[in-house]
Subunit: 208 residues, 2 copies
DNA sequence: ACCGTCTTTGAATCGCGGGTCAACTCCGGC
DNA sequence: GCCGGAGTTGACCCGCGATTCAAAGACGGT
């Protein structure tokens, strides 16, 4: 009985992962159940055995993918001892296509799909807000941590405010990078965001 | 013959406008030919008499709507005598939902739809880039104009660079405002963008 | 008033893809 | 080895919506 539960959860995960991949490749609007089934090496009927509808599956897949990403980032942050390093790293991770090992293009592409749906689907709107807050929270935590360790000055604005602004800059630039590789390159984005972060938070960047 | 051409062009415009409205209301993915026809008070068949396919129509509608908006803004800019006023005004116009008379929410909602499609449709990607450049150009022009009139200092960065950064900040914040009316309000966005503009360009804002 | 062409209609076609379902398989417990 | 239920399949149903098309209408030119 326990094993059955486990196996069921595994299967669900597998489908969610496959769904995320397919959405990334084909876009939310062009993702068919058939595609997801194929990527799992499974029949289309099975997909609807595990999820009550295509729509629910897609929604869950989007948040699931974001969760995965968030957890990876959170784990990395915990490992880094200094706030500056954390800031540098989280910026690296935010730039689409900067690090070849994570294909962050994918993360951002999914993110844009979430935005579109959030415009008209209240459930997604709520989810999106939660995911976004969590992300901004991570930035704010780094700032607070740095103030605690003495790496960052403590006389600046509220950490949450700063994080919100920094997050906005990252979003705006990420779109440019994601959609247009000529004018705004990953390297350039990294530079600009680093600059913005140091100015907002008020510290000196580690030279690259 | 001439009149016929004119009438045909009018009909096309009418359809494009209707399409933009429907896309805004229902989202690109859920827009049906039937909806557009209904909004024009016309039969579905006619839509495909004027456009070779739904897809072409939608693409054209997106850029058409953006053109309209751009032209409105450009006209306004020309009327304002000082660069500071222009900057203040273009910021107002960039904040979704700030001005009730223009429902800028709509502009931004369409913009997000363009992004999603641009991820996978090379034609749209190219169009989007052109539209975006035009927009950033407007910002850069204001900066250059202000330097010419002596309103802005001339020792700062390249005007195009500054415009690019300012544009990114606007994009990032606009998404937040568009999707989430609790944390990031229009008024707050306006404040932040104004602040960013004055710091980037290096002038004093007119107090609000 | 007549003709030919451009518009417009609305019904019909057609393919696609989500969801259903009855049958089959597999596996774990007895 | 046998039973029962969970897991899996793939064929089928079904509605939706893009596109086509033949027929009807409007309109300008003669």
């Amino acid at each position: 009985m326990v094993k059955a539960r486990q196996r069921q959860r595994d299967r669900r995960q597998e489908i969610l992962d496959a769904a995320a991949v397919v959405i990334t490749e084909r876009g939310l609007a062009d993702t068919r159940i058939q595609d997801i089934a194929q990527r799992c090496g499974v029949s289309p009927g099975l997909i609807l055995y595990y999820f009550e509808s295509k729509d629910r599956l897609l929604v869950e897949a989007l948040t699931h993918a974001n969760d995965q990403f968030y957890l990876r980032v959170a784990r990395e942050m915990r490992r880094l001892p200094s706030a500056k390093e954390r800031m540098t790293r989280i910026i690296e991770l935010s730039v689409p296509g900067l690090l070849p090992e994570y294909s962050l293009l994918d993360e951002w592409a999914l993110w844009v799909e979430i935005w579109v749906r959030a415009l008209r689907d209240p459930q997604i709107a709520k989810e999106r807000e939660a995911l976004d807050r969590r992300w901004v929270q991570s930035l704010a935590d780094i700032i607070r941590y740095g103030r605690q360790t003495g790496e960052f000055p403590t006389d600046g604005h509220d950490a949450d405010d700063l994080a919100l602004q920094l997050g906005a800059v990252i979003d705006g630039l990420a779109i440019q990078v994601l959609l247009n590789d000529t004018v705004m390159t990953p390297a350039r984005m990294q530079e600009i965001v680093t600059d913005a972060a140091t100015r907002l938070v008020g510290y000196r960047a580690a030279s690259l």
